[in-house]
């Protein structure tokens, strides 16, 4: 800046010398009035145009954009809330379903266990009945067999005696002899 100012001074001096004018045009009071007048006029007009028309327009656009961004942010917030509640509902439904499924599984398991138990009981009792029946039959057969032993013995004895004696012996006699 100092260099600029010194250059300016030199240039100003040269100009004053060379053209023989009365120094800087800036310091000529005759130029003050028209400049002040037109400065006042143009500044006031510019101020009126800017403050009445231009700036409110820009302000409006900026305001609109701010509102719009705010609205979008609010909407995003709302959607996020909705998503969160939907997610919570989904998780609750999932938990419910899981619980229901496990209780159903338990029911089925219990019922199957009960069925199996009943079936087992039935088969067991059936088997027991069969066993006892079989036992009864065996006993009957046994007693019948035992009963037949006397007859067989008598017959055998009759046959043996007949062979030994060489004559027929009545079974009744043999029987009597045996008892």
């Amino acid at each position: 800046m100092i260099a600029a100012v010194s250059a300016l001074v030199v240039a100003a001096a040269a100009a004053a010398h060379g053209e023989g004018s009365s120094g800087l045009p800036q310091l000529n009071p005759a130029n003050f009035a028209p400049q002040l007048f037109w400065l006042a006029v143009s500044f006031v007009i510019l101020y009126l145009i800017l403050s009445r028309s231009t700036l409110p327009r820009i302000g409006e656009v900026l305001e609109e954009r701010r509102d719009r961004v705010q609205r979008d942010l609010d909407a995003a917030e709302r959607f996020k809330g909705e998503t969160d509640s939907a997610l919570a509902a989904y998780e609750k439904a999932l938990a419910d379903a899981r619980q229901k499924a496990s209780s159903m599984a338990k029911d089925v398991r219990d019922r199957l266990a009960a069925d199996t138990e009943a079936e087992r009981n039935r088969v067991e009792s059936e088997l027991a009945a069969k066993i006892s029946e079989a036992e009864a039959r065996i006993a009957a057969t046994k007693s019948k067999a035992l009963a037949s032993v006397d007859d067989i013995a008598a017959e055998t004895a009759t046959a043996v005696v007949g062979k030994l004696l060489g004559e027929d012996v009545s079974p009744a006699e043999v029987k009597n002899a045996l008892q």
């Binding site: 000529n28 130029n31 002040l36 007048f37 143009s42 510019l46």
Partner: protein, 239 residues
């Protein structure tokens, strides 16, 4: 210095005052036409997702709005259109002044001083409107030993009264010095001819870029200082 010369395009007079339409007036009016036209064009579609031009328009709006909010707070937003007008006007005339054969409105001390004086008057009025006579406490900083007060009050008063001068000279000197430099080196390019003119030409290209930055920076500084002064008037020493 003829680039700073005021040329009367249409000589006019009003109640004995010279209000000629000069080349300076032309560039002021050009700024008044170009700024609203740009915004009209840029904000034409009022798109929800802004295009390039609309982005620039919105960026400039929020740039100044944030500057006021940062420095003054929400209480300063009442004066947003005024601050915005100051910034855009100075920025536009600074930039227009960089075009070859154009005229830089802000290279005239009377213009920058008038702007600074307007800022000073408006802000002093705002201060008295907001705080009444209590605004005078601005010159009496709290926590100063009472025997220092006479000196401090005088210093504060002078620094307050001198504000429009420092405020305006900064902008004026920067714009004028930059343009004078451009002119001087452009003169070298022509003077040294095809053989030697390249060096100053290269410098000139770089310097023009620098001047673009300066044109923006000085408009920015003028606006920031306006905000800082406005902060005094709106909030006094609360901040």
């Amino acid at each position: 210095m003829e680039q700073f010369e005021i040329k009367r395009i249409i000589p006019l007079e009003l109640f004995g005052w010279d209000i000629s339409f000069t080349n300076a007036s032309l560039f002021m009016v050009l700024a008044v036409v170009l700024i609203p036209l740009f915004y009209l064009f840029a904000m034409n579609r009022r798109a929800l997702v802004p295009g390039r031009l609309q982005s620039i328009a919105e960026l400039s709006y929020e740039f100044i709005a944030n500057m006021i909010k940062d420095i003054v707070g929400e209480g300063g937003m009442k004066y947003f259109p005024w601050i915005f007008t100051i910034f855009m006007f100075i920025l536009t005339v600074n930039m227009l002044g960089l075009l070859p054969y154009s005229f830089t409105v802000t290279s005239h001390i009377i213009v920058t001083f008038a702007l600074a004086a307007m800022v000073w008057l408006v802000i002093t009025a705002i201060g008295f409107m907001n705080h009444g006579p209590g605004f005078l406490k601005l010159f009496v900083p709290s926590g100063v030993p009472f025997w220092l007060l006479p000196i401090i009050v005088v210093i504060e008063l002078i620094s307050y009264l001198i504000r429009p001068i420092s405020h305006s000279v900064r902008l004026f000197a920067n714009m004028m010095a930059g343009h004078a430099m451009l002119k001087v080196f452009a003169g070298f390019v022509v003077g040294l001819g095809v053989l030697g003119g390249w060096a100053p030409l290269v410098f000139l290209v770089g310097f023009t870029g620098l001047e673009l930055v300066v044109a923006f920076l000085q408009a920015f500084i003028f606006t920031v200082l306006t905000c800082i002064y406005l902060n005094d008037a709106v909030n006094m020493h609360e901040h």
